[in-house]
């Protein structure tokens, strides 16, 4: 066990534990805060795995923007403060499918990798990643910018009924 292994184990335990709390807690707001812990632990895993840029992008976009958006949605849908009992559906099919997927994938990956060791490669700094993006992956990068624009316009149109249904003459 090297130091990297210990860090990976600890951060992985934090990530899985807080992920479990996200899907089981009765408090809507606490689910969002546990999600922050989970995403932060995953960012720590990225740092240990030498993916520096992705780790900081994860902190910026996920922990910063996405969780804030989710908490906005919690507030705007007038979620009850405190525990609520009607958050869950009957659990057996979900437990079967989710547990089957998680444990099956885990068994598959353990069987594939056993206890092989690899050396950590050089760090994925912003300079190296930028070079890689603009040398090999320019077209997906540009397509993603179009996708972001489409998502922006789509979100505006969906959330504004006065422009969404104006052409069809609906009266709501």
């Amino acid at each position: 066990m090297t130091a990297a292994d210990v860090l990976l184990l600890g951060l992985g335990a934090v990530a899985v534990g807080s992920g479990l709390l996200v899907v089981t807690t009765k408090h809507l707001v606490r689910a969002g805060l546990y999600l922050v812990v989970c995403l932060g632990a995953v960012a720590g895993l990225y740092l240990v795995l030498t993916a520096e840029l992705v780790a900081w992008v994860q902190v910026l976009i996920y922990v910063g923007a996405v969780v804030v958006l989710l908490l906005f949605a919690v507030m705007l849908t007038r979620a009850p403060i405190g525990a609520s009992d009607d958050l869950d559906r009957p659990g057996w099919p979900a437990l079967l499918v989710g547990g089957g997927a998680g444990l099956g994938l885990a068994a598959l990956l353990i069987d594939a990798f056993r206890w092989t060791k690899v050396d950590l490669p050089e760090a994925g700094t912003a300079e190296r990643l930028g070079t890689e993006i603009f040398r090999s992956w320019v077209l997906p990068f540009e397509v993603l910018s179009v996708l972001l624009l489409a998502a922006l316009v789509g979100a505006i149109i969906v959330s504004r009924p006065d422009i969404g249904t104006a052409g069809k003459g609906a009266d709501r």
């Binding site: 292994d5 995953v42 958050l87 444990l103 990643l129």
Partner: protein, 104 residues
């Protein structure tokens, strides 16, 4: 570094995400579970990038960045849909969404 540790972490996170999507009634919680699944995929990509010596180095990290961008777009559109559902039906429970055709 033993790559099996982050791989198993990612597999368990994905299983938790699937469980949450199927179990939760509140649409916002369903979106949170989808985020868990996307994170598991990102973790797999990053770990594979450090584990496998690919022809193009850092490809897995580039793909993880792409997935993060797609997740941000997904959350934006998803929340717009959830808020619209709340405005029309005053509920965000996914099993109370009418699936039959409404007279529009």
């Amino acid at each position: 570094m033993r790559p099996v540790i982050p791989y198993v972490t990612a597999a368990l996170l994905f299983g938790l995400g699937v469980y949450g999507v199927l179990r939760r009634r509140n649409a916002v919680l369903v979106l949170m579970s989808v985020e868990l699944m996307l994170n598991a995929v990102n973790l797999i990509l990053i770990t594979a990038d450090t584990t496998v010596r690919a022809a193009l180095p850092q490809t897995g990290q580039v793909f993880a960045l792409f997935v993060i961008v797609i997740a941000a777009a997904e959350v934006g559109v998803g929340l717009a849909i959830v808020l619209q559902l709340y405005r029309l039906r005053a509920t965000v429970a996914v099993d109370e969404v009418p699936l039959e055709k409404v007279d529009a």
